[in-house]
Each structure stands twice: as C-alpha cells, then as structure tokens.
C-alpha cells in the first residue's frame, strides 16, 4: 500500500519537476515579448492588444503552473519563527496537518469554483473585450489546471511526510536543493579573486 503510494508520489514529483523546468522558459519569452511591445509601440507607434495580453497570459501561466513545482522545492514562504527549531518529525506533522486542513481544502475549492467559469468561456467562445484581444478560455483553463498540479503536489508531499514518519524514507524536507543564487554568486566572486572558500 505505502509502497504504491510512494511510487505515485515519485511520479507526481517527476511530473511537476518537468512542468516547472519547461514553464520557466516562459519568463524569457515574456521578457522578450514585453520589450518588443515597448519598442514597437514607441518606435512604430502601433500596438496590438493581443501581444499585450500575451504578456499577462505568460505571467499567469508561470505562477499557476509553477505552484506545484514551487511546493515540491519547498519555496512557498513560511513564517517559522515559532516552529523553525522543531525536530524533523514535528515539522513533518506540521506539513501533514497543513496539507490536509489548509492546502487541499483551499486548492480543491478554487479548482471546483473555477472549472465552470472555464466551461462558460469555452462554450460561448468568449473573446477579450479589447479590440483584437485573445480568446478568454485558455486563460480561464490555467486556473483549474494550475490548482490541480498544486493539489497533486500536496498529495505527494503528504505521502512523503507519512512515509518519513513510518521510517520508510529519509526526511524529505532535508533534500539537497543544490547551491542557492547567493552561494553561486559568492563562489563566482571568490573564484575570480583567486581565493578558495
């Protein structure tokens, strides 16, 4: 039973890892498109609502589709002033209770509520109110899908915490995330100065 669930958890982790690593390229796309929009508007004195709307479609895609990926890497902001020094087991309990009572109810509720809004936009073929704007439904679809990815990641984190408490796997929150941006910067500077850390 638990073994099967751990397999499911690994599959979810792998999926969100892939989704996140593909999605983050859209940041570059958004930067380039937005720069292009600004230059075209002032250089050629025209602008296209579709291209302006693509900017925030990309932004929304990134933050919604990376929600699960961000949870996988434990990067959603916490206030751990009271609980930061607790043991690994106590923190696992916090995550289990938090996932069951905070994350899953809210994410499922929002998924549930936003699905009909998408169906509505899809059936009426709703188009943005801006002249030449984009179809609305792809944007509406991002919400339930993004929250689905988040729900799945929540389940995966839940499975890993329970497995840890049962002694089946090492503490999942102590996974090596590789060097941070700050560490990489410090390393680069030290290397250039010919010093060893």
């Amino acid at each position: 039973m638990m073994r099967g669930l751990l397999g499911l958890s690994r599959a979810i982790d792998a999926m969100n890892e892939t989704v996140g690593k593909l999605t983050y390229w859209l940041i570059l796309a958004a930067v380039l498109i937005s720069t292009g929009n600004a230059i075209v508007r002032y250089g050629l004195n025209t602008s296209s609502n579709a291209w302006l709307e693509i900017q925030w479609y990309l932004f929304s895609f990134v933050f919604l589709f990376c929600a699960g990926y961000t949870l996988l890497h434990n990067q959603h902001a916490r206030i751990d002033i009271l609980t930061g020094h607790l043991s690994g087991r106590a923190k696992a309990w916090i995550d289990i209770l938090g996932t069951m009572f905070f994350l899953l109810p809210m994410a499922i509720a929002i998924m549930w509520l936003s699905w009909p809004v998408f169906v509505d936009a899809w059936q009426s073929n709703e188009v943005s109110t801006n002249a030449g704007g984009l179809l609305i439904w792809p944007g509406r679809l991002m919400v339930p899908v993004g929250f689905l990815l988040l729900v799945l990641q929540g389940l995966s984190e839940l499975i890993k915490r329970v497995a840890f408490l049962l002694g089946m796997i090492p503490d999942p929150s102590e996974k090596d995330e590789g060097p941070t941006d700050e560490e990489l910067l410090a390393e680069q500077l030290r290397k250039e100065r010919g010093e060893t850390a």
Partner: protein, 579 residues
C-alpha cells in the same frame, strides 16, 4: 455561542489569521484556508450570502491580469542576471581606487556603489555579498574599524529596498492603489537622502575617529599614470566638461521658464553621460592620451549602470514606458550586458529563470491567499473593525502613524515584505486615507521602515549574508602577508546599530518634512498643467482602481464581477492609446 460568534466574527477571524500564520505552514495556503473556513461559517450563521465564493474565480482573474505585478518577475530576472555580470566588481574595484586615498574613502565608495547597484540590480543579498567579498577585505587590510566597515556595507546593501526600481515599492503601490511611477518618483529623494545620511555619518567618523577609516597608502593604487600621477585631475576636467554639456543642452532645449523637470533631468543626464563616454572612446581608440587611465576606467565602469538607469528609470519617469515595460527592457538590457561581457551561460539563464519562476509563484500565491482571506474578512466588515480600532487611537494622524510604524517595525522581524504588503497594507491604507494622509507618502514611509528590518540585529537579512561571506577564521592577507583576525558576529551586529538609528532618523525626517517625498510630485503636477504633451506614469494607475485596492474589493463584494475586467481594460486602453 452563536450570538457571540456573529458579533465577534471579525476579531475572531483576525485572531485565527495570526494563529494559522504562526503554525509554520506556507502562509499562502493558510490564509486562503482561513478565508474559506470563515466564509463557510459566515454563510452558516447567515452573516454572508451563499453566493460569496462565486466571486473567487473573478478575484484570481484580476490578479492574473494585473499588469503591475508583471513587473515583479521582470525586475527579479534582471537582478539575477545583473548580479552575475561582473558589473558590481568593476564598480567596487574602480570607485574604491578612486576614493580610496581619501580618509574614509572606501566607505564612501561602498555607499556610492551601493546606491548605484540599488538602482540597477536591486537585490540586497547580491550587493552585500559583492561588497563583503570585494570591499571588506581591502578595508580590513588597511585597518578600517571592523564594526564601521561591516555596518556601512550592510546598510548600503539595503538601499536596494528603497531606491527604485525596488520590488517593495511595486507591491506597495499595487496594494495602496497608486501608480508605481508615482511611488518611484516619490522614493527617489528619500533614497538619495538616506545614502547621503550614511555618507554624513562616514564623514563624522573620519573627523571624530580618524583611525577607524584611514586613507589608503599610495602603493595600494594600481590605476595610475606611467608617471605615477593619480590622474584624478583629468577625471575632474572630464566631469566638469560633461556637466557643462548637460547644462548647455538643458538651456538650449528648454528655453521656457517652466521646463518639464523630469524630461529635462533625464535627457540632460543622458547628454552628459554621452559626452563623457564619447570622449573616452575617442581617446581610447585614437590613443590620444588626453585622458588619464583613471578617467577612462571610471567612465567605462559607470556607463553600464548609468545606461541601465536611463533605460529603466529614465523611461518610466518620462512616461515613455510603464514600470512593467521598464522592467522588461531592463531585463533585456541586463541580458545584452551579460552577453557582451561573456558572462551569460545557459546554466546562469536556467538558474535565473528557475529562481524567478519560483519567486513569482510564491509571491503571487501569497496575494491569492490574501485575496481569498479578504473576501470573507471584508464580508464580515473586518475592514471596518480595523478602521475603528486604528482611527480611535489618540493623537489623530500622528498617533496613527506612530502606532502603525511601531507595528510594521515589529512585524517586519517575522514577516517578509510581501506578506506585510499583501496582508497588512490593504488594512492600513484606507484608514490612512480617511485620516487625510497621502498614500504615496505613507507607502514610502513604511518602505523605509521595512528597510530597517534588513539590517536590524539579529534577524536582518543583510547581516546574515554579510556573515556568510566575512572571514570566520583568522587569515593571512595576500597583499601585506599579515595575519588578520576573523570578523565576529558581534562586530557585524554592533556595526549595524548606528545605521539602524540613521533609519529611524530618516523615518522621523519623512514625518517632519513630508516635502521630502512629495517634492518631486508637486513639481510633476505643475508640469502636468503647463505642458500637456508629456504624459507621466501618474496618469495610468490613478484613473483605474488597481486590483489590490480596497475600492476593487468592495466592487466585487457587491456582486459586480465585471468591475475588475472593466478596470483592467480601461487601464490597458489608457496605456495603449498613449503616445
């Protein structure tokens, strides 16, 4: 029991908010769950309409289509690329050499470069790490007082929080329903003043404790003429020539008595920088030898940050670009710069995009959580409860400001500024407005206040990053061969204390002299009436209520779900139609 619940729903909900946030689970989800739970409870008790949650999808849509927040990933990405481009090292090395022979010179260099990095990279951690690895060893080598050296580095690093294009100012503007351009314009003078106060403190140190900040000996200088001359005279001449060119341009272009001040400043600065750059390039290429090495070096290292500042802040202040577009152009500019310096690798790109994506997601999700919470909280009139609490404080405006500043000061130890901005600011903003407080001024006051938490022992992030790069063991200095003692955590903490006091003085100055903030804005208003053809960012956000503003909150509560869309559309039209 039921009666008690009905009458005290708002305070109970606020209490629950505190409890769930301190639980240690990601706040975004805790907030949203709290909102949904109390929403269901309120519906059960008949306090709220059963259709309450139908407004949720529209709220999320409003966050998605919020152009202002789009600036967050752009500026984050720009900073991450820029911090690895080598710009900070060049600046610190060269400006350190330039000011070094003065007493306290290295401290001035750190403050000056800190302000430049704040206006470009905008990442506190990156500034502190760069200065901690480049400037601190030199300061220690030549006998700077350890507390003074670490304090000036940590404080200068935090300037990134208050000098535009800071992320704090973006979310602050968004949540207060003001335009980011106005917030940037308002923060400019306080940011520069703060850097000035740091410098005044450094001057004071050189007068009272000259041994704490000695001048660098001549042999420490590597950029010099073959004759051994420093070459600073040549730099001074180049500087004066550039300033004359800028002033002459200003007089030629704007002969009228009331010139548009923003445009004049930005364009004449561009001319001055262009002249200096042109002269250095011609001198270098033709090997004229008219300029000293120092003059050439200083010009070349200052060009990239100044060009970026003109590209990003210049276009925003001119009203040519929205802050979002400014951010995108800045990010593209950073990419171009990193490529031209051969610093851009695929690994760096991935790293920067990865961090940006995760930061964007967690930041926007805090906002999602806060908006789900506020849907219920405003539904049970929680905002009226908070308003009543805060407006009944003794002392009117001043009483309110003192309490709010103390509150934010304390909360900033536990919450990061995104949490503060999304949860606390929307509750404070309307009360401030009712008391007749200008919201731009209020936002900047709170931003300076929050900046303090970055350097306040023992939690300040700037101190943490400085600790991570300062020597933890005694070491042998490579240049002098002498053994230098490690930097203790106590030295870092004590070094920050005078600068925390300077921050508090700055908060006091802003309260005592509101003109520090609104000075730039008053001029803008005058420009606006005289000279219609320049459009200023002030026009964009102001006319359409931003999504985060309480006004938009009430609109969606009232069942009018179209409000958000219309506001966004109106805003876009204003932007699109603007020359």
């Amino acid at each position: 029991m039921t009666q008690f619940l009905i009458e005290n729903m708002a305070p109970l909900m606020f209490g629950a908010l505190v409890v769930v946030m301190l639980f240690g689970y990601p706040v975004a989800f805790a907030l949203a769950a709290c909102g949904i739970f109390f929403g269901l409870l309120g519906i059960q008790l008949g306090l709220l309409q059963p259709s309450l949650f139908q407004a949720l999808p529209q709220r999320i849509w409003a966050i998605m289509s919020n152009d202002t927040l789009l600036a967050v990933p752009f500026f984050t990405f720009m900073g991450l690329i820029l911090e690895r481009s080598g710009m900070a090292e060049d600046l610190l090395d060269t400006i350190g050499q330039l000011f070094g022979p003065l007493r306290g010179g290295l401290a001035f260099a750190v403050i000056f470069v800190g302000a430049l990095l704040a206006a470009t990279t905008g990442v506190v951690a990156a500034s502190v790490i760069s200065m901690g690895l480049i400037s601190l060893p030199i300061m220690l080598r030549y006998g700077y007082d350890r507390r003074f050296a670490t304090g000036v580095i940590a404080a200068s690093g935090t300037l990134a929080q208050i000098i535009p294009p800071s992320l704090v100012l973006i979310v602050m503007a968004d949540q207060l329903g003001k335009s980011v351009g106005d917030m940037y314009a308002g923060a400019f003078v306080p940011g520069i003043t703060l850097a000035g106060l740091y410098a005044i403190y450094a001057v004071g140190i050189t007068l009272v404790r000259p041994a704490w900040a000695p001048a660098l000996p001549v042999e420490a200088r590597t950029i010099k003429e073959n004759s051994g001359a420093s070459g600073t005279k040549s730099l001074a001449v180049l500087f004066v020539v550039s300033v004359i060119a800028a002033v002459a341009f200003a007089h030629w272009k704007y002969p009228q008595p009331n010139p548009p001040i923003d445009e004049l400043l930005v364009l004449s600065t561009a001319v001055g920088v262009g002249v200096a750059f042109g002269a250095s390039v011609v001198n270098h290429v033709l090997k004229l030898g008219l300029l000293s090495r120092m003059a050439e070096r200083v010009t070349f290292v200052l060009i990239p940050p100044l060009a970026l500042i003109l590209l990003v802040l210049g276009t925003i202040f001119l009203g040519v670009a929205t802050p979002t577009e400014g951010g995108a152009m800045g990010a593209s500019g950073a990419l171009v710069m990193a490529i031209s310096r051969r610093r851009l690798s695929i690994d760096l790109m991935r790293q920067a995009m990865n961090t940006t994506a995760k930061l964007t997601s967690f930041v926007v999700f805090i906002l999602v959580g806060a908006r789900v919470f506020s849907l219920t909280f405003y539904g049970v009139d929680g905002h009226l409860w908070v308003e009543h609490l805060l407006s009944s404080l003794p002392g009117g405006q001043i009483g309110f400001l003192i309490v709010v500043n103390l509150l934010v000061f304390v909360l900033a130890f536990f919450l990061d500024f995104f949490e503060l901005a999304f949860i606390i600011i929307p509750l404070l903003g309307p009360v401030a407005e009712k008391l007749g407080i200008d919201l731009i001024w209020f936002g900047i006051l709170l931003s300076v206040n929050m900046q303090t938490s970055f350097m306040h022992p023992p939690f300040g992030y700037a101190l943490f990053y400085l600790r991570s790069v300062a020597a933890t063991k005694d070491y042998v200095d490579k240049v002098t061969g002498k053994t230098l003692a490690k930097v203790t955590t106590g030295q870092i903490y004590w070094g920050a204390v005078p600068f925390v006091l300077i921050q508090l003085i700055m908060v006091g100055l802003i309260i005592a002299f509101p003109g520090l903030v609104s000075g730039g804005l008053a001029k803008k208003a005058a420009v606006n009436t005289d000279q219609i053809r320049i459009e200023i960012p002030a026009d964009e956000g102001g006319s359409a209520p931003l999504e985060g503003s309480p006004a938009a909150d009430d609109a969606s509560k009232g069942g009018g779900t179209a409000g958000d869309d219309d506001a966004a559309a109106l805003e876009r039209e204003l932007r699109g139609g603007k020359k």
